[in-house]
């Protein structure tokens, strides 16, 4: 049973978040181990598995981007590791710009970041953050809508587009993290804020 089926949903990307949450709570009331304590060990083990799958399904579907990542894995028959993202890949049209940023980052690491350099890096960071937002709204908006309308052949093409966009997003997010670190803006100096 795939995660869409867990919620009795078709393989569509545009979901009503409030409705998904309502269903999640309703199903949790049925499958959570808390309500099956008096049952024999074997039944409890089954309940544990069902409950774990429901939680994983909700986690994968509640966020529009995670939903697309899951859909891509599902369509390609790679359903093993939960949360496995697309391999980061620099968007081709940004290669030159990325090269510049990497150089600036190297400089920053070597300790040579003056006020002007800092300002330039911060501006780059803001540009990239805007770009990531753009990719995300494209994924969750236009491309998701296209998927829900599409049929077989077109769907295969869209999966390719999803992968490309996800890889670019993953790459940009890594660069953003590096920029944040170089600018000393990682929250509270705590490494714990690594994103998942």
């Amino acid at each position: 049973m795939d995660y869409f089926e867990v919620f009795g949903l078709p393989r569509r990307l545009r979901l009503d978040a409030a409705e998904l949450q309502r269903k999640f709570y309703e199903l949790s009331r049925r499958t959570h181990p808390d309500f099956h304590q008096a049952e024999p060990a074997e039944a409890q083990a089954r309940v544990l598995e069902t409950s774990a799958r429901l939680n994983a399904a909700y986690r994968a579907l509640r966020d529009p981007i995670a939903r697309i990542e899951y859909l891509v894995r599902l369509e390609e028959g790679r359903d093993t590791k939960e949360g496995a993202a697309e391999k980061p890949q620099a968007p081709p049209e940004l290669l030159a710009e990325m090269f510049e940023i990497q150089e600036a980052l190297e400089e920053a690491k070597a300790g040579g970041l003056d006020a002007a350099g800092r300002g330039a890096l911060a501006a780059q960071r803001d540009r990239l953050a805007a770009r990531v937002l753009g990719i995300e709204s494209d994924l969750a908006g236009r491309l998701s809508e296209a998927w829900d309308r599409a049929v077989a052949e077109e769907r295969r093409r869209l999966i390719g587009q999803f992968r490309e966009a996800l890889a670019a997003r993953a790459y940009l997010r890594t660069v953003l993290d590096d920029l944040g670190t170089a600018l000393g803006e990682s929250q509270d100096g705590h490494v714990a804020n690594r994103r998942h």
Binding site: K81, H190, H196
Partner: protein, 610 residues
């Protein structure tokens, strides 16, 4: 299903609660004297083991064998705790993974000490119900890792309890509040206890309590406030009297208890005074709330980082939080309340007693598990990311932090050498990139892999975090479909055999019976009073007449004689008589001390009026 109680196993105090069938409301079970809080202190005396208030009274008398704040040591290795060991008067030694505590000629582990506290609560509940109590829900800090949770579960087992669920303290508290007092919406639970800090953010809707994110610090609490005050007092005593008391275990315990008491008074009063008689001098000091706030400001500040990170993980802003709930005794500190209010921009809730609310919530969860409550459901999360070490020591995350539990992840493993029959895995918990910076949970050995060319075997390993937040691992060889044998070596835990041995031995640490305990207490009280009187005679004997001194000496002699017998009533009577004989001397000395302390101020006033 049989009765299940809820237990809050705290750093400083522990409690047991249940849901009353008639009212449907949770209630704390008090002891015979009507006390709800059981101090989490265990004293190992030659005559037997003391728990709770009786053990707490041994802190100054027997600092080396009276164990307190053991929760800070649960599920930890020596490396984790060695920095704070200087604050403990008892000896903590490295054990096999976990630490051990040396009490006299024997060694005990932190779960065994906690088991003694749990057993006392179990007996309290059994007396209350008049029937055996075998099942419990026990709470832990939300930010406890796998080893700390497992250690808590082990403690329950050693105490003869079936721990049906480990629940996170802040979420338990939200259940207690949720019964009547919460509107639907997003709530933040700020839980600062004796030794641990948690922040949990939950969505409450249709009876479902869904934890969105949790963060915290399992080594930050009221204990640390006390330590900061003690360090300051030590400096002040050194400056004023030229004596450094830092290596005197008894004096340190007196200072710690005095600092704690002053901190508590300063939550309601603006200023307070300490008067502490030591052997060579009497220390007198006035402390203001501002003094203490200056000392603990940084510590309070350091709880705000985890709050912001938890918020960031939920994707919400502080303004999106509908309600803030305060839990844990340390949230009585006004500075803590101010900072929390500033951060979230709203007045926090604290209608329920912050010492009791976690136990009440544990009782609610126990009632849910027993089938007595069906309209409430708690969906908690795992606080730390779970991963495995891969090539180069890099962590590959399998289950991210703040994933709703129960949850599972599957991973494929294979061999790297021809004919290899054993595969190793190293499981870690934490948010860092490198395995060495994370918390090592366990090393797993998959055995009995059929010898094949490298890369051929396909072993599917399932990592499942159950509703307790505890990891279970199973493996299957996909080619043959047979379950692979797994040997688990927990990095910071007790092996199965050790736990069984401890369960058997636990009666050896049985609490001293009532008669023996009362006698030990009477003798200790006699010793404490004698020591004080001897000290008073040395320091202030000259302030009273010779015949009064004689009367005191005679009472002292009688107490010594009484103490040598097993007659508890006689010891009591002699102690009371000695106390009465010294009342006047104590008054005279207190006057003298106050005059001394105020002397300089008076002099200044006199100068001004001239």
């Amino acid at each position: 299903m049989s009765r299940i109680v809820g237990i809050d196993l705290g750093t400083t105090n522990s409690l047991v609660a249940y849901v009353d069938d008639a009212t449907g409301l949770p209630r704390v079970i008090p002891d015979r004297e009507g006390q709800a809080l059981l101090p989490s202190v265990v004293a190992f005396t030659p005559a037997g083991v003391l728990v709770g208030a009786a053990a707490k009274r041994q802190l100054v008398r027997r600092p080396e064998t009276t164990v307190y704040s053991v929760k800070r040591l649960m599920g930890r290795g020596y490396e984790d705790v060695k920095d704070e060991l200087c604050y403990f008067p008892f000896r903590v030694r490295p054990g096999d993974g976990i630490v051990k505590i040396q009490v006299g000629d024997r060694e005990v582990t932190p779960p065994e000490v906690s088991a003694i506290v749990l057993k006392s609560l179990k007996e309290r509940a059994e007396t209350h119900f008049g029937e055996p109590v075998e099942k419990a829900v026990i709470t832990v800090p939300a930010y406890f890792n796998d080893a700390q949770r497992q250690a808590t579960k082990d403690a329950g087992r050693i105490a003869g309890l079936d721990v049906v669920r480990i629940v996170n303290e802040p979420t338990a508290a939200s259940l207690a509040y949720g019964l009547h007092r919460l509107r639907e919406g997003v709530i933040a639970v700020y839980d600062l206890g004796g030794g641990t800090f948690d922040i949990s953010i939950l969505r409450v809707k249709d009876g479902v309590f869904e934890v969105l994110a949790t963060n915290g610090n399992t080594r930050l609490g009221g204990d640390d406030f006390d330590r900061a005050i003690v360090v300051w007092l030590l400096d002040d005593i050194l400056a004023g009297h030229g004596v450094y008391l830092g290596r005197d275990n008894e004096a340190m315990q007196e200072l710690r208890l005095a600092a704690e008491a002053a901190k508590i008074r300063l939550s309601t009063d603006e200023r307070t005074a300490l008067t502490m008689p030591f052997d060579a001098f009497t220390y007198h000091r006035e402390i203001t709330r501002a003094d203490v706030e200056a000392l603990i400001g940084k510590l309070v500040e350091s709880t705000l980082g985890p709050c912001r990170m938890a918020l960031a993980d939920t994707g919400l802003a502080a303004a999106d939080i509908d309600e803030v709930v305060l839990v844990g005794g340390s949230t009585r500190v006004p500075l803590v309340r101010r900072r929390v209010q500033e951060l979230f921009g709203k007045t926090p809730h604290s209608q329920l007693n912050p010492d009791e609310v976690v136990a009440l919530g544990a009782a609610v969860q126990a009632q849910i598990l027993a089938g007595g409550i069906t309209n409430m459901l708690l969906l908690d999360v795992t606080p730390l990311s779970l991963g495995i070490e891969t090539l180069g020591g890099i962590v590959s995350v399998l289950i991210p932090r703040n994933t709703t539990i129960p949850t599972s992840a599957r991973e494929m493993f294979t061999t790297s050498v021809d004919g290899q029959t054993v595969v190793d895995m190293h499981v870690v918990q934490g948010e860092r990139e490198l395995a060495k910076d994370c918390r090592s949970l366990a090393r797993f050995e998959l055995r009995g892999v059929d010898p094949m060319p490298a890369g051929m075997p396909k072993i599917e390993v399932t990592f499942l975090i159950d509703a307790n937040g505890i990891l279970q691992v199973t493996a299957k060889e996909l080619r043959t479909g047979k379950a692979a044998a797994i040997e688990v070596k927990p990095t910071y835990g007790l092996a199965e055999g050790e736990i069984e041995r401890m369960v058997e031995e636990s009666f050896a640490y049985a609490e001293a019976d009532v008669e023996a305990r009362l006698l030990i207490e009477a003798r200790n009280e006699a010793d404490t009073v004698s020591t004080h009187v001897e000290r008073a005679l040395r320091q202030g004997g000259e302030l009273v007449a010779a015949e009064e001194r004689e009367r005191i000496r005679a009472a002292l002699e009688e107490l010594r004689a009484a103490r040598a017998t097993d007659d508890r009533d006689r010891i009591h009577a002699a102690t009371t008589a000695l106390n009465r004989a010294t009342e006047h001397l104590a008054e005279v000395m207190m006057d003298a001390a106050l005059k001394g302390a105020l002397g300089s101020k008076r002099a200044a006033e006199i100068m001004e009026t001239k």
